[in-house]
């Protein structure tokens, strides 16, 4: 009771695209966060916006960043990779900034955002996800023909 062997990984050559190999997992987790963050932000903004406007707008912003990262990583063209690089960088800066802000000034956050406490409500996945995203994109930095 076991799964078939995977073909050997070619360490020497660069990966085919940003959505295969480890990228498959990355796109899956980004897609999960894109869906859950946008659904959560929509419900919060539609039903109780005045309760925590800053938190909900930041949730919506995070949702947009996750959607862009999911789409561009799944697409993988050179232009998409450049956009993915920007969105993963914004995401990393965002989780650090909002994480710090939520600890320094908890009054602004009567309700949590995805990035509150550096993503502690989501097992710190929001903190490590952009790091893996940026590391993954680094492997494509010099195009497909060269390996780093």
């Amino acid at each position: 009771m076991s799964e078939p062997m995977a073909p050997p990984e070619q360490k020497a050559s660069p990966p085919d695209s940003t959505r295969t190999g480890p990228g498959r997992l990355l796109v899956a987790v980004y897609g999960l966060f894109a869906l859950s963050a946008s659904a959560r932000a929509s419900v919060q903004i539609a039903t109780k916006f005045h309760h925590a406007p800053v938190a909900y707008l930041l949730s919506a912003f995070a949702a947009v960043v996750y959607i862009i990262a999911t789409v561009t990583l799944a697409n993988g063209s050179p232009t998409a990779r450049r956009i993915a690089l920007v969105s993963c960088s914004v995401e990393f800066a965002g989780v650090l900034a909002v994480g710090t802000w939520s600890i320094v000034d908890p009054a602004t956050f009567p309700d949590a955002t995805v990035w509150s406490g550096y993503g502690s409500g989501y097992g710190f996945v929001p903190l490590v996800l952009p790091v893996f995203g940026l590391l993954w994109l680094r492997r494509f930095r010099r195009g497909r023909s060269t390996d780093r």
Partner: protein, 121 residues
């Protein structure tokens, strides 16, 4: 009886995640065993959706109906999407995608309980 289903899904989802991650570690791709295991998770989640819909039809109301309905729609999609996205990957990262699906199924049970505490876990 119905309380056993969310608990089963948590245990099953975590076990599925552990097995799938072991397959990733052993450099296996998605095969029949994992696909069947994902299918079983799908059936469990559909049973849970049925139980919750029956509770809603019976007049029970959670604190946030739109949130619960969103989760009822999302939950059965998790094994379908994870199974598909994992199966099209021909490397060790396919099982890793299914591991995420198993973890998400377990986490969803906790969220269901938070949204509507009558759903015991």
């Amino acid at each position: 009886m119905s309380d056993a289903v969310p608990t089963t899904i948590i245990i099953y989802g975590l076990a599925l995640a552990a097995y799938a991650l072991l397959m990733t570690a052993l450099n296996r791709r998605v095969g029949l065993v994992l696909l069947v295991a994902v299918g079983v998770l799908e059936i469990l989640l559909l049973v849970l959706v049925g139980i919750i819909v029956a509770r809603l039809a019976g007049g029970g109301r959670p604190s946030s109906v739109p949130t619960l309905v969103g989760y009822l729609i999302a939950a059965p999609l998790v094994p379908l999407i994870a199974g598909f996205w994992g199966a099209v990957e021909r490397s060790r990262w396919g099982p890793a995608v299914i591991a995420v699906g198993g973890l998400v199924a377990a986490i969803l049970m906790v969220r269901f309980h938070e949204i509507w505490p009558v759903i015991h876990v």
